[in-house]
Symmetry: C2
Subunit: 239 residues, 2 copies
DNA sequence: CGTGTCGTTGACAGGGTTCAAAGCACGTGG
DNA sequence: CCACGTGCTTTGAACCCTGTCAACGACACG
């Protein structure tokens, strides 16, 4: 189950056997969350960081008028709040968008890793930096891409991220997200999401049914999105 | 000159004398960049990380049609590309918005810090995580705030960040940024930036002249912006 | 005094929001 | 087996926020 994290790390750099053991020793208890439940509450001070094993989760901020903005989506193999180990207090919440299965890594043990294993420390640092890269890409999409490109870009991102943890079957992946949630991701209205999806569908760029996304022509979708996967930093490097 | 970085760190956690020495030993040569010059080129593989001593810089992405989106602003005391130490390749550029004065920290030395000084490593990690927090806040502002609130939020952020490095005089700070650049920050048109500024000015929330921003009533501006400085993580904590 | 940069303004088009209602799939209970 | 409720998607219409275009003014500089 923890393999998705290992594979997330291995994609970016080799792990020694002791590294891998240290990763496995990190986790204590598991948890399950129902769709709609908060995994981490805004303002809280977690003592564990949460590895998502299965499910779809999101970091989000709420505004006073009830508007919600999602700032990143998390899939299996992602730490949803590794940054809290250093930041201490959550400046946003993390919600389970579908039923989620998680593992908890006590900050005490993460602390030990940073004291004893510099390489693994840098690898964990890396994971949080990739979150940052994704943030920047989203900012760019929200500010300067037309909505079709934004949507296409998001789909490409999820395709590559699911592929990295081996969850692509054919040109298809499970992506059980409602249009209302998608609207909170993209910062637009649900109506607009719906109409944009219809255009992408009628252009033959996307088939989206029963919580599954199929990409008939990845090349075409990437062109529309001006997608460059560099920002996901899948290259294996000595870090 | 390097004091702004020290103060940035000290705001967040105590530094021991050896920590501080290690910080000072990190830097090698200085550089100067003219306004408009790239400090770091997108796609490059820096071997140094750049500390901004003085000036205003920005991380940015360009789209094919020439549109630009700025993803974060940097002021004195910020590392503009500390993340490149771990990410290796730049997925965006960094540009000098005004004349900039910088110091270079060789990655070789940063590597040594991560091998020898776990606490300082976590402090540097922290700096990159705060960049991430700022990204999330910007995403929220772009997606779900009305433009007045977005602008107010940005001004509040810069006010708090300048204050942390002691660059607030009275209720005033130097912020020599054109409206066109501001448009690339907020992801809107220059015309719209101009009209929004006029509203804020006529509401008495902002005085902006000769590259200086004055905030007559910080409380009122924060209320409009729904500003909560938590995300800048100025609290001193044991990290 | 000409040139260039930046800020300001007005008119107009259109992209995107809001509101409201209808359609659809699915599970539940009678 | 059907009626009904629920959550999600789809549609249409009115409205307005925001972008584009184009021009002008203010100012610094050589």
């Amino acid at each position: 189950m923890i393999e998705s994290l290992i594979s997330n790390l291995r994609t970016r750099d080799a792990l020694t056997a002791p590294d891998e053991d240290a990763v496995r020793d990190l986790f204590q208890h598991e948890n399950r969350f129902r769709a709609g439940e908060d995994i981490v509450v805004q303002g809280s001070r977690p003592v564990n960081s949460t590895l998502l094993l299965e499910g779809l989760a999101a970091r989000y901020r709420l505004l006073e008028d009830g508007k919600r903005q999602i700032t990143v989506l998390h899939i299996g193999g992602d730490f949803v709040d590794l940054h809290a180990f250093i930041l201490k207090q959550m400046d946003h919440g993390v919600i389970a968008l579908t039923d989620c299965h998680t593992l908890a890594a006590p900050h005490r043990r993460l602390q030990a890793v940073t004291e004893e294993n510099p390489h693994l420390t840098r690898m964990f640092w890396l994971l949080t930096l990739i979150d940052g890269s994704i943030h920047r890409e989203w900012i760019t999409a929200m500010g300067r891409r037309e909505i079709k490109g934004h949507m296409a870009h998001l789909i490409c991102e999820m395709f590559y991220r699911y592929r990295a943890v081996d969850l692509i079957e054919g040109q298809t992946f499970r992506f059980p997200i409602t249009q209302a949630i998608l609207a909170d991701v993209m910062g637009v209205s649900t109506v607009h999401v719906n109409k944009t999806l219809q255009i992408l569908r009628s252009d033959g760029l996307l088939i989206w049914k029963d919580g599954r996304v199929q990409i008939p022509d990845l090349q075409a979708l990437e062109t529309l999105a001006e997608f460059d996967p560099l920002y996901l930093h899948f290259q294996s490097e000595s870090r």
